[in-house]
Symmetry: C2
Subunit: 429 residues, 2 copies
């Protein structure tokens, strides 16, 4: 049993190299492998061509390496991974009867019969073990050789994930003695990376060598990842200690830990206090509601809300005063406060969050430029609003505004309805 | 001037190899480079370590190669790309005064002064040309050598995009004689890949050698990408002809072309006919509204709507009969039809789309399993509903449901309110 094992992820598909598809498989695989203690040393995306698959296999198939290939296993003409692997391993074809049965059942459940195209999916290289795919037509293939391990999976994310969860992770765990690498991620929102760094510098400089901190900025949020690279017992105790120190340094600016991001965190606070929330969204157009309902179990606290995109909807449904829209404009403190109150009345929710802003690219003026957004918060304790200035493109402004609104609400809840106090970071965007 | 030029994209960052960040830069770069006629032959993600950056540079820096590096240029300790490049090219440090000025102005505009951490961003390797970053602190660096071209860009997507659009694309166009590769993408929704293939087989088999078709499945949608690989005049005429044939074969199952995806297409139809739309979403939780408002100019036809997550919201706001919810359940034809009618009344929109379903993972029953979703459509011509069965996870079910609802609405509009006719593909999910 080898101690050092290097994982290479290889994504096959021209669609990746012309930028038509964003590679989400690599991130999913890397995260899962990391959890079980395997380290991805490199990820590559290569073309759907025999020569590029072959040259990558020649370079990377070595003792101590694990190659995980995704893509190119569909039933159509442009899918050539399977045949290239068969030739690389000097295999013949074999018909896998179990796969054939599953394919027949799969089609039957969908009211279709097994056509010639999909029947070909039961033909596999002779030397591989089959990982049965019950949610699609492409099997997983395992080539466990003395010159490294090769796993070939379909490129459709759900099917790839299914096969890794049903077979891949268990196989790798049983094959290698693995010590999980420990990570802990602290999420922040609205604080520039360099300001975080200044704030954390002194603590960061005294970190022991086997504990490291990484700054991962994304759309107005910075994630701080603390990693323990040597899994000793002392190391783990130190890691816990440093994690606590970091948490303390961040204080209420830590909006969530690990997989708990802001929407999860907001829902958790609400559920714990038995409160309910509704949203009234103009410029964010349903994105805040969508972020909240993306969390399983959201219905325990999130009631729904209004997408008040058109001003007539703000007036008719939320009871915004048309005079206020004329006088102050739809992007104003007055209007978002009325929206937040209005959606509480309308739904009976305890709290209301509202947004109105200029997402761009059009619609900006000198006084109200693209990226300006007003957020309103209303609850039994009162109603208030804050303006933010985002500096991104349309989708970036929508995403940042959604997170800024959720974070303002979170801070308001935490501070028991006092306006959020600036901590080390002056509160603004 | 070399004819053959191979582009390698190299993303630097441990966050990519532990799966914390999805690599969107690679797709953006690949798409833009493709548009100007450059072909990405491989994409790699490598670790934030000197040794992996160095070994990748040694392997890939060759005459005729263009390397585009992203990431590792932040002001913090874990960002080591710049120093590694300086050493690789045997450079010294130079202070770029223009960068220093921009950094000072950048901080001033944000009410901050230039700290030591960010001042270091004006220190650059001596042999590179600077690409000025006016929206962030990390400059772009160009090393135009006889052993290939190296471009180093920040990993923050907006800044990377800004630098490519301000400098990179123009530089590459002026440096090389490029003939753009032609692609055309046809979007479909709800049709299995193998059924599409059977339908298109005969036509696909007669395609000339320099025209190819690729199937790109994603979350219930399949994109068909037709590519012309040799840019001759005859080739272009043939390409046009084959594109028309494909369009005809797909008929009304083609939900959009190239960057025009379903939300854009639906808005276009609405704007052309002077109609307006509102949404009443339960299981999709604001995602349909969010997809529509993500399109710039959506306000011309999309009025907004209701996220009726809680049943009380369906009753209070949309006028759904509580008796119907008790009798048929919230996930039923009766309830979605009432929701679609209700949101039209409420907003004054001409058309209404509604959804109610079980996104999962909880909440399923034998009669109403996870993945079941009802879609309601209402307009002056009448109201009807359809059930779909999705087989994905929570986020997949939400996304598929949103697209299925928008596509049902699109077909209804196209068919002038006759129930969508099955074309070659039996209509169901």
């Amino acid at each position: 049993m080898k101690k050092s094992t290097a994982v290479y992820l290889v994504s096959i598909g021209d669609e990746l190299l012309i930028g038509q598809v964003i590679n989400t498989n690599a991130a999913w695989l890397a995260a899962r492998l990391n959890e079980i203690g395997l380290q991805v040393v490199e990820q590559r995306s290569i073309a759907d061509s025999k020569s590029s698959i072959e040259s990558t296999l020649k370079e990377l198939m070595q003792e101590g390496h694990i190659l995980i290939l995704t893509g190119g296993l569909g039933p159509t003409k442009d899918d050539i991974t399977k045949n290239t692997l068969r030739e690389f391993f000097n295999d013949s074809w074999r018909t896998d009867e179990q796969v054939l049965e599953i394919l027949q059942a799969f089609m039957q459940a969908r009211g279709r019969s097994l056509d010639e195209v999909n029947r070909g999916q039961a033909e596999l290289p002779s030397s591989c073990s089959t990982w049965l795919n019950r949610i699609g037509t492409a099997s997983g293939m395992l080539f466990d050789t003395k010159n490294g391990i090769l796993i070939s999976l379909p490129g459709v994310p759900r099917e790839m994930e299914y096969l890794m969860e049903s077979y891949g992770l268990d196989f790798l765990k049983s094959k290698f003695q693995l010590a999980p690498i420990q990570h802990m991620t602290f999420h922040t929102e609205g604080i520039p990376e360099s300001q975080l760094m200044v704030h954390l510098q002194e603590w960061e400089n005294q970190l022991p060598e086997h504990i490291s901190l990484a700054y991962l900025p994304k759309a107005g949020r910075v994630r701080l990842r603390l990693s323990l690279t040597s899994p000793s017992k002392i190391g783990q105790e130190e890691f816990q200690l440093e994690a606590e120190k970091l948490q303390q340094l961040l204080g209420s600016e830590c909006i969530g830990l690990n997989h708990q991001e802001l929407p999860e965190q907001v829902l958790k606070h609400l559920i714990e206090s038995g409160a309910t929330l509704a949203t009234a969204e103009s410029c964010t157009g349903g994105n805040i509601a969508s972020l909240l309902t993306g969390v399983s179990g959201a219905s325990a606290a999130f009631m729904g809300g209004v997408v008040a995109y058109d001003n007539s909807v703000k007036i008719r449904m939320l009871g915004v005063n048309p005079g206020d829209i004329n006088k102050y404009g739809a992007v104003s403190s007055q209007v978002v406060e009325a929206m937040a109150k209005g959606v509480r009345n309308l739904t009976g929710a305890i709290y209301g969050i509202s947004t109105s802003g200029i997402a761009g690219p059009g619609g900006g003026t000198p006084e109200k430029p693209v990226g300006l957004i007003w957020v309103g918060i209303s609850g039994p304790e009162g109603t208030y609003s804050r303006a933010f200035k985002m500096a991104s493109d349309r989708s970036g402004n929508i995403e940042r505004s959604s997170f800024a609104a959720l974070n303002l609400f979170r801070k308001t809840l935490l501070n028991q309805w006092k306006l959020p106090e600036p901590t080390f970071w002056a509160f603004s965007h």
